[in-house]
Every structure is written in structure tokens, then in C-alpha cells.
Symmetry: C3
Subunit: 130 residues, 3 copies
């Protein structure tokens, strides 16, 4: 599950985007203890003027490297969320040099009945997934 | 209401996309007993590398036909959701041959105060809609 | 915070899009009493056939000027939401002539633990933001 929608500004190579997705996926498995194959990622690339991402006065600088991760997920503990944020930013920075100031993450929570992965079944309700 | 955001990989004709939207709309009316004209659909098309949709180890195969439906809706019962999933997948498969393994659906619930359809009014609060 | 995703049909100039974003941001500050710099906006532009936005039988007409604002936000009162809708539509209409029938808004609520603005910290939890 979590469904991860990722918005970024155009200009990255396909290879770099692939790396971002691979790292996000690995971090998800670790932080959320998600099962292998729990990978649902959708990237949308934008013109620079289409993304206006500031900082609520926190005093950091954003660049065109900005990435916004928007997750839809079932219940996660506060600890899991904090772990996910920290690992994701650390890994993206250490592995491919993305500035930690250019990574923003937000989450929305839904419930078991809100997912159908295929065939029109609700896999969290019928026991196929738990 | 439900607002339906639909992500797919580029390659479908406009006509096929129109059919997908028409079918989704009809199924919405049936499963949610929504009123006529309750149609709010937004499609975003992606490059193949921008959508990484796996299967949480369920053993199915995804193809570039993959479609992800993300709904924002007021409260719906579990039965309505299950009915919607099943009808949507069945109809898309029977009418235009989309593989049932290539249709994923997720929902997020909000409330009456969370909708303004036009004119800056909250139509579920002022009685224009119920 | 609120994260504002904005879907529209292609055809507007960059300048007009910039004006829409500027106005949305100003209205956000006023209606939600958000701090300066609380600006998180992402625009996606679509082909006309990709956006099917009707009216639930309310008897209005939509055009290709249609804009859909989808907000993710922490808790807001009903009064704040209504104020935001009304101000946003009024201002977009009066300043740049967008028809009030072409502006649709929807909101989803999340919580303090659901935001990391940068560095992988949860700024609403660690006290950097309140």
C-alpha cells in the first residue's frame, strides 16, 4: 500500500528518477515494515512555475530540485512516520545528493475498506492482505 | 462528488480514455447512488517509468495498461465501496477489455464542509446538495 | 501547510497561472491565518478531454476555464473553510475574471504527524512549527 504520489520539476534524467523511486521503496519497506512488492509510486513532473514551494518562514532555501512526496496510507504510528521521514531524506541525500531542504513529505490516512489492488476485490477485507 | 483522479500510462487514444471515464461515471451513479451529473474526473497520463505499480507479493502481473483510480469522497459504507470496486473492474474489463489485474483503486474520505462545487459556497452545508 | 494541488486545462499563460497562485496564497493567509511563506502549490495542466467536471445537476455551466483546487490540511473549522472558499472564488473572479462557476474546491484533513517540510523532521511535532 502506501500509494506515493511524487511531484518534481522537470530536468532529472530517467535514471535519477528511477533511483529516487528505488530508494523511496526501500525506505518504505524498512520504516513501515511493508511486505516486498508493496510498491505503488506515481511521478508527475512539472514546469518550474507550476510548483511554488516555500518554507512557512523556517529560513531554508528551496531549489528546482524540490520533491514533494504525498502518501495515502492505512494507519501508521507516529514513530513509523517519523522514521520514514528521516530515513527517506537521509537516504536520498546520501545516495544521490538531493538537498535535505528540497524534500517535503505529507501523509493522508485511510482505512482497510479503502483499497482494491486488483480484480475489484478489497484485499484488506477479504484476507488476501493484512 | 466523489472527485476521481485517474493515473495511467500514455498510449491510449482519446476515445478509449473517454470510454474509461464514461464507464467510471456510470458505475459511480450505480454503486454510490449518486445523482446525475455527479461527475468530477481528472486524468493524468505518465511515462512508463513514472508509474511503478507492483502487487505486494500477491502474484499478479501488471502491464502498461495499469490504471490507478484515487477517489476523494464523503462517507460511503463498506458495502458501497466493495460494490464500486467490483462493478468498476468488471465493467472496464467486459466493455473495453482492460485486464482486471491492471486496475487499482483507493479512497480517501472527507466531510460535508470539505466541498465547494462553485461560487465559493459549501453546497452540502447550505442545502443546495445533500 | 495546506498543500494545494491545482488542476486546470491547458491554455493559460504562465503569467495568468502565476496570478492564480499568488491570489490563492494571499487568500490562504487571510482565511486560515497562516504564517507568511506557508505556500505549497502544485499545478497540473490537462488536455480538455482529461477533465470531466460537471455539476451534480445544479444547473450551472462549466467551461474550459475550470480549475479544481484540492487541499490537504490540518484541522480547520467550518467557518475557516467557508471563508476560504468564498474569498478564493471572489478574488479570482474580481481580479482576473475567472467565472465563479468554474472554480471547484475540495479538502482532505490530516494531522500534526503527517507533515515533514524538510530535513526529514516533523516540524509540527518537534516545535519548529505550531
Amino acid at each position: 500500500m502506501p500509494l506515493v504520489k511524487i511531484d518534481m520539476i522537470k530536468g532529472r534524467s530517467n535514471e535519477e528518477i528511477k533511483e529516487i523511486l528505488d530508494i523511496s521503496y526501500e525506505v518504505m519497506l524498512e520504516a513501515f515494515e511493508a511486505p516486498k512488492g508493496d510498491r505503488y509510486q506515481i511521478v508527475t513532473q512539472h514546469e518550474p512555475y507550476e510548483m511554488q514551494i516555500q518554507d512557512t518562514g523556517l529560513g531554508i532555501e528551496r531549489t528546482d530540485e524540490i520533491i514533494v512526496f504525498s502518501l495515502t496510507t492505512r494507519y501508521r504510528t507516529e514513530e513509523q512516520k517519523k522514521l520514514f521521514y528521516k530515513k527517506l531524506v537521509t537516504r536520498l541525500h546520501e545516495s544521490i545528493g538531493i538537498r535535505v531542504e528540497d524534500i517535503m513529505i505529507n501523509l493522508v490516512t485511510n482505512s482497510d475498506a479503502d483499497w482494491s489492488f486488483f480484480s475489484g476485490n478489497a484485499q484488506f477485507l477479504n484476507g488476501e492482505l493484512k
